[in-house]
Point group: C2
Chain length 396, copies 2
């Protein structure tokens, strides 16, 4: 089937996670993503786990599928010239250097635009291109801490908890894909390129639901409350015989269904639990304990099966080993087998966005460093060798 | 300035959070989003907090800016006919009904496509349109539990912790915007519409970084480890005099900078902390305590200022009241004042994706129920009144 981004050329200068996750999605949907790596390689080529026999990073292999690869030393003027040859034919450039670095390398938007005025130049950074923190380094945990996300997760009186793994890196990559596609739509209409600026901190902050509005609306700022919902009960995680389950019986209908299925009909006659407000008022003082006691006598599977039949939204709290085998995850093609020339076969995450006519696809494995130098730069074997010896190009 | 989606008409059948967050972004970037509500209104019109004087939901007001509003009873055949009049002129339809409901209402993709073959029909659900859970109800907490996200967050031996607030609702909305823009790009080239299917569970699962690959690569599945990074040290949250800070000194250079700035030079000579592997091996047994002791003698601000000057990525763990006043958040226009006709002035979250030529903008407040009935449906005051009395339309 056709892919929606076929025919578009993307220069990918990103490393690690946020940028490579974005360009991986562009490649999944058909863009020709040319990853340009320094001779030392994307920093995540050195991240654990590393495949023992080959020394290839298994981390890198996960986020760079469907891309081609050229290894250019951008600190060498001849390398910069090769880069600009590629820029001339590109539709999109994506980079996630720390603020200020592209200017030092003479590959910033102004310089690139002078060569290719209609290019879409996308910069993904921790704090964005503007503001007092524009040049500061950032990690996922910093964005989670500064946005308010971390302080809102976990139990009151205990340590705030960051969401794991590095979800904000990935969310900022998804936002950047939106930014690139918006700019592309504008370019197709007008021929005009532009600069796209996405920050991890902004991305994290945007996930704070309506909380940023509350104080200005005259309410108290919310505080962390563990896994329970502050205004709906029961809606929480509970320990059970062999793990944890979540149960969300957020309406009168679901509350009744839950009590009847659970054999807890006596709760339906208890005036403390007569409506949602009353259940929420008495949740921590009594209702939580009653549901916990019920759960502790049963296994995850027993509870899930019972509540599923009753239509009450619930789930066992799954480990990642369990989620990769969950029938719904498998039915959605969210776990796919892929084959890497050195690492061999492994399972990897599929495409989230399901398009009926132009679906995404995992076609080629993550590239070896510089594997497409000759094809992309149009070089003979001898020319490539000469440039490698000169330190202009690199190759595994 | 021009907006990238100007001229595009979006039929918005979504309620609550995931769908409205997606269509809000479409509207921020210039699409004409026509929200169609049932006479009872979007369920989130009844969510707390509610503005006392007017009874309007302050929650709804946050996620529905820049949209127009028509209130149609889709259970009435005359209402369905009015809906199809709008469908004929629409480019995009977005819905987040539970699986199966659009078919019952005769507004499913097949029916809509018969009237408008080139429409992009976007369905955002908990589990997607396929697989054994396609018809199941879902909440954010269920997607967090089933994907593995929740089991990975929090401390070992303690309860798994969900990220708060409902971040997966929002992430699935961001993915759906990608899906719609991909489909739009294909349509502009070929004239062909299509069906876009995004699930909250898939969205949550996709954020699990490289974890879904680990077992198939021969490694142990990761387990939750609190706020620390499992392979980089020090990289964690620490309690201090007046709250918590995160410190991520992930390289040798940053480790040295941290020790020198903190006045902890003796750690640089300690063989237990000679390199990252060694620091990670001795992190829980000794290093964590030494850094915690240092932090406990200082305030958040003292620590932040010191480490900022030294270039060590760090942050106080901010409450939401603090993050909305953070100079970087403010400099990025991530908190903007807006005015609602009944609720009055309040602060709300700005646009994440910064486009140099076609930026997003907050232009109009969330609509009142049915406020644009006449304009959108082309009705006189009398006709509107007649249809309201017949139960075909509704209005606040």
């Amino acid at each position: 089937m056709a892919k929606p981004l076929e025919g578009l050329k993307v220069i990918d200068l990103t490393t690690a996670l946020s940028g490579p996750f974005c360009t991986m999605m562009l490649a999944d949907y058909g863009a020709d993503v040319i990853k340009i790596e320094a001779p030392a390689g994307d920093q995540s080529r050195h991240w654990a786990p590393v495949h023992k026999a080959s020394g290839e990073s298994e981390y890198f292999a996960v986020f760079n599928r469907n891309k081609r690869d050229v290894c250019i030393n951008l600190k060498d003027p001849e390398g910069v010239a090769l880069f600009y040859d590629l820029v001339k034919e590109a539709d999109i450039l994506v980079e996630n250097y720390r603020g200020g670095v592209t200017k030092k390398l003479s590959i910033d938007y102004e310089s690139v635009k002078a060569v290719n005025p209609s290019i879409i130049y996308a910069s993904l950074t921790g704090f964005g291109q503007t503001g007092p923190y524009a040049q500061h380094p950032c990690y996922d945990i910093v964005a989670q801490a500064m946005s308010g996300l971390m302080m809102l997760s976990g139990y009151p009186g205990q340590e705030p908890i960051k969401a794991c793994p590095s979800i904000i890196d990935q969310v900022s990559g998804i936002y950047m894909m939106n930014g690139i596609l918006l700019a592309l739509h504008h370019r197709e209409r007008t021929g005009e390129g532009q600069f796209v600026d996405v920050a991890m901190l902004d991305s994290a902050f945007s996930l704070m639901e309506n909380y940023p509005s509350l104080v200005s609306m005259g309410h108290d700022a919310p505080e962390r409350s563990g896994n329970r919902d502050a205004s709906i009960s029961p809606f929480d995680a509970f320990p059970c015989k062999d793990g944890y389950v979540v149960i969300s019986a957020g309406t009168e209908k679901l509350w009744k269904a839950f009590c009847q299925t659970a054999g807890l009909e006596e709760l339906l006659d208890d005036p403390r639990y007569a409506d949602n407000q009353s259940r929420t008022d008495h949740y921590l003082s009594s209702l939580k304990e009653q549901i916990t006691n019920w759960c502790m006598q049963r296994t995850k599977t027993e509870i899930e099966t019972l509540l599923e039949d009753a239509g009450v939204p619930s789930s066992a709290v799954l480990t990642i080993s369990e989620s990769v085998r969950h029938p719904q995850i498998l039915a959605r093609d969210m776990v796919q087998k892929t084959e890497h020339p050195l690492i061999g076969e492994f399972e990897t995450t599929g495409c989230v966005v399901k398009l009926s006519e132009t679906p995404g696809e995992i076609k080629t494995p993550a590239p070896l460093l510089g594997q497409d130098n000759r094809e992309i730069l149009g070089l003979s074997e001898e020319e490539e060798q000469r440039l490698i010896e000169k330190g202009v190009l690199g190759k595994r």
